[in-house]
Symmetry: D2
Subunit: 425 residues, 4 copies
């Protein structure tokens, strides 16, 4: 078979879709190298290697990217409390830049002219992968089979077409009772979408959730742990006599604890980058604990004004950047550059109780000294002059009084004219 | 006793502090009228009335403000998902404007020259009350006894001093085993602060929590309910055969459900308006359910860009306005004026499961039509042209490629130079 | 010739491009109606009508949209101080929604299946027109000839190809010494781009600027005028004995004054919606005066906090919405809904001096009463207690002192360790 | 005379006010050291030294802070395009942190227990000085005489009282025909406020403006210059054969050019930090040129999304931080930390024409490569596929069409129902 079109590095999953794409790329005249990233998903990588080579890949690359996934992507997201539309913790979005960077590194080293992936034409991942490719290597060429008009018939009657194509190409198929939804799994989370979940009023079946126990089935005995943060990063998890300090270990330990205690499930309708609303379910076990703990330690250790500015700008913008696949962009460089200054003082320990889906803060401590028990106390003055507050309130009221006087003069306020100050419902 | 200084309307609670203030105001030469607002707190109003008159108040006013508390303050907060520092649902902040408005209405009608309150000089409530007074009636005069230098000795050895003063003034004291913390209660929440809670690493004792069952003690059987929203407001709660539609009933019904199922406890260190960090614990039962449900129905029914703008501006600014006592200000008028346009399409039903502290979304539906199952589906084209996404990605990549080319030209990026695109930890 | 494809309403300019498109649409089998909007541009509408019909249009529609251009689009932009990238006053962006709405009204009434325009495939206007069409009539079909692959050859050797095509189709051509740039003109502004302007270091030739005198050639005698605002809108312009109050008259009068005095030229490199940087020159005469005057009267009459919030959210978001063609969208509905509350107090008169490109504020007055000469005065107390400021500063310093103490304790500040508080250059 | 109260370092100006304060501090029992900062103001420092010592200061310190004023404060303000309320370039605000830092350094070295200043109790400068003192040395004690109740009589009949006091204390007075306004001058600007300017409708007299020629009197011949930026900083100014590269020289050269050509006057009503509206006039010659030039080079060299985020957050927040005297705070540390990433690509040259108050951009160039003439061109494809834009518009329209369909279904839009999409005026 001719390989005249050049060499392509394919993001390979070991599943039916990318196996068919692998065969199709060969059929189209490409020389195909297969790439897999280990970002912590549960997977038989050796079986995938064999399958890729059997279908016709010339080479197979498996890259263990777990550590850089944690330190390069998850860490800044934790520091910034990144969350999309107040609910989604961005597990898939966070993995894509790491995988794309791994692919481009191999593509560079192996002289690939193209990269390819199996993402569909309606989702976020095609955008995330391709913008990452272009942000790292602007002259790379991308083959996106699902968006090629000739592939539409395959796409529009999806599974049946793929199975036929697989039979024709002698691709081994081990589809045993396929799940009626799609998933994406990594160290940080698993996602569920499509299939029966497309009706947003369908409750996900109990056996869909793969990572976590349900709150109902979680242990009836709570478990207490503590997390120590330095510069906003979780540097030590203590669970009884077990202590974890390595970044990957910390994440895996928290995953195990959260999974056991039914922590981290969500079910939402979100807005994809392309403007389509989409229903997704997610389990993000460790990330859910870390979010609660990090926000709590910030309460004790982060200045009020920095917190407010960071929440309004960095938290929201970083989530948008991640969700929309804009990691390798100047705006990510800009926004992330402000994180260290926001986390310099975020040092301390949070004590937590885990119980049937709940992450309960039991206490926190820090040497930073921004919290001052005496100053805060209602029982002593602690150097505080109550008359100062009188001055503060008087100054704060200057412009408010002017506004109120103008309202009264114009008959627009006072106690009664409700439409000025009352919300109409 | 002379009343030469004029007539003052005192925000009276029935407790030791404001009873002492009442006596002190009379001693200073004021004629005192006592004011109580029923904002849903558990209270023996008749006993309070008797006590106020016994201590020397000339008149006693009890105003039932529950309904306007719900419709004028809680409603916009629900519509805007208002939350302070990502955790606190603003229960005390929401009640203050309603109480202050009630007081100013009475002060106007009864010809009071002054208003007074028993808030301490380090807290938020003094600011909230006084800015509200000035925003409604800019020439009102405020007597804030705790900030008057002569009152410092009382303040600095707080409880003992008050008891002595109470004995001296013959104020009836029914302090039975005083709780080692302060509380503020209303329809929306109860707060706990001060006393033993001032050590942020002290876990609140189990018997502190007054409103809600603990998750551990909550029923082992989940309960399913549904909430219908119109224009972002909860217009119907269905709990089996029980249906609630009146605004106050809706709130009370959700409170009862949440309290039973252990929903709505939080424990945080927050930043007071005056810049002091302070530890607070709160129970906000109904509000916690409403927040989850409202954000969920917005996922299904609110445009992505409106949601993003609203989250960044209205949600954050309204919380700041409420927390800092800026309700009767031009900025509140400005920010709140944008809420109706953000909620026009927020119509639909959310189905929830309540279980041991968890509020679990089980499904949602709406006639708005912004969610389109076919368009969202991965299994069919639904009028969607995948090639369109190719164009979208190409256009989105234009400026990213330019940036990447410049990086490469300057040797600042490519795959390896990690310091451009890697976060350092 | 067959008209089997259906009826199309073409945005017709009278120029070579849209005349060729008209002929091409007919050739493709469409029945063509031509549409022109009078938004204040200098144009021989009658000649255009004749030409359209001569080339083959079945009907010709001329709509006078000047008044709604001023009241529906320009007014909110003035109220919000809308400006794109701090320089561009959005003259083209503002006209597009009005023209698109006019076209959709005719398309509806006349039963057109399609709308068409002559915008190129790299610019902003194609996006602005089409998103407006879809926002008003989501099932409308758009024919965009310049983006049709068959039209590429025409496009890539642009002018020559069009002239050839025009000769072939017997389209009358009156191109006399075509200008080496393109323009878009309306009541609000004229733009210049493309051609020799594509080199951003080329100074525009003096004879390019059409509307305004150059500052050098403007009168040596300054002219004084005044503008009265109500709710942030210019309701009266007084120029000596000339007084203008009608919205369109106000705009035309200010245009005449600004053009005479060399006011309103800019030359920038801006970022198009599609991510391409582009050089544009603009003359926005009246708009430049109005911007200076409106911002000045806001200084006197608008509350500080409303101004700050409005600047950060409405001003910036409205500019983005306008520039990107998102007028008929939910986010425009949301953002614009907050304008009235921001302008309720913006009432007063600004006195200006116009001189050789300068708009100089000479004074302003208002009855709103937010400015208080006595309170502001350094020469008298005016009811102000200087000790209040002491309290204000003490309270403001609470969290700053805590931060400074922590810095010192950690050896991170003090007077010397410059890298904490010094900016490195 | 006793000096029992301790040693105080006084910010001394050489004028009547601070000379009286010096005498008063001695009278109160302080040992007084006098401090002057040379931040570029026109001043006879030697005369001031003699006067301070004559009035009774024990030591006199003169610190030349011009260079750090430029590099530490002005530079980040230029990079961030900092401007307050869209008009004021923050000249006084920028100098205060440098002066305060200079004072604290001397106070530390000389063992002063107190610092003092002559700012009045209604202005911004008292806040700026004191918050800066506390941010650098949280335990410093501040003596603010104008806010001390005993000083009120002096304050309320200001000038007469001071002259009497000066006579009594034998303070030399050289007040010759005092100006009916106050000024603050430094390298960056001069401000005028108070006195006759307190009526906001009074046009400032022509002889008030000290630094700049009026546009009317400026040369009739324009002058062309160029400014080169590196990382957003002006590293070279070329004016004919004159070339300036040193940071202070660059600023002084631009000052001379702008002053000659009548550039940099403004007249506004602004909102002071304490909430009082105040009228100020300012001349900021070099800063006005730099602002125009820096924004222009950003058009050519800064990514669109970075610019938008920086404008909305850094530009606005930095101005607020500066104006309110929050330089030595955690929020300044946070906000400023993001500036370098925003300016990495801001490299290039801007060519300007200066003429009678106008700063006219004539062209700009850069090697950054973010502007691509071919890509931007309307006359060639330049690698651009117009069909891509079709896809882009289709994707952009997805959610807009859904909104429009819902509007139509509910009878809330279409062409006519104006109240949905029309702005009411």
């Amino acid at each position: 078979m001719s390989e005249a079109k050049g060499r392509v590095l394919l993001a390979y999953s070991g599943g039916l879709d990318t196996s068919c794409i692998l065969a199709w790329l060969i059929e189209q005249g490409y020389e195909v190298y297969a790439f897999m990233a280990d970002v912590g998903q549960e997977e038989d990588f050796e079986a995938a290697r064999k399958k890729a080579l059997a279908v016709g890949a010339k080479k197979f690359f498996l890259e263990d990217l777990k550590r850089e996934f944690v330190t390069d992507l998850i860490y800044p997201a934790v520091q910034a409390n990144a969350i999309y539309e107040n609910v989604y913790l961005l597990g898939t979005s966070l993995a894509r830049p790491v995988i794309a960077r791994g692919m481009i590194a191999i593509a560079d080293k192996e002289g690939c002219d193209f990269v390819s992936h199996g993402c569909t034409g309606k989702g976020n991942d095609q955008v995330r992968f391709e913008l990452a490719f272009y942000g790292l290597k602007p002259d790379i060429k991308v083959v996106a089979p699902w968006r090629i008009p000739g592939m539409f018939p395959l796409f529009s009657s999806y599974e049946f077409a793929l199975l036929t194509y697989a039979a024709e190409k002698q691709i081994p198929v081990q589809q045993t009772a396929a799940k009626p939804w799609s998933t994406d799994e990594n160290l940080f989370h698993i996602s569920y979408e499509a299939g029966i979940l497309e009706d947003p009023d369908t409750t996900p079946p109990a056996d869909m959730w793969k990572l976590t126990a349900s709150p109902e089935e979680a242990p009836t005995t709570p478990q207490k742990i503590s997390i120590e943060f330095k510069a906003g990063l979780p540097v030590k998890v203590t669970d009884g006599s077990n202590v974890y300090t390595d970044p990957v270990d910390v994440f895996l330990a928290l995953n195990a604890l959260a999974r056991k205690h039914g922590i981290g499930r969500i079910d939402i309708v979100e807005n994809r980058f392309i403007g389509v609303k989409s229903r997704g379910c997610y389990e993000s076990p460790a990330a859910t604990i870390l979010r609660v703990a990090h926000m709590d330690i910030e309460g004790l250790t982060l200045d009020r004004n920095v917190r407010a500015l960071r929440d309004q700008f960095v938290t929201i913008e970083l989530a948008r950047i991640l969700y929309n696949g804009h990691w390798f962009t100047p705006e990510r460089e800009f926004v992330v550059s402000s994180i260290p200054a926001s986390q310099r003082t975020v040092n301390g320990v949070v004590r937590l109780k885990l119980y049937k889906g709940n992450v309960i803060v039991e206490g926190r401590s820090s040497d930073e000294g921004l919290y001052d028990e005496k100053q805060s106390s209602m029982d002593e003055l602690g150097g505080f002059e109550p008359t100062d507050t009188t001055g503060f309130i008087q100054i704060e009221s200057i412009r408010i009084k002017k506004w109120a006087q103008a309202n009264i003069r114009k008959g627009e306020a006072g106690v009664e004219p409700k439409d000025v100050y009352r919300v109409r419902v």
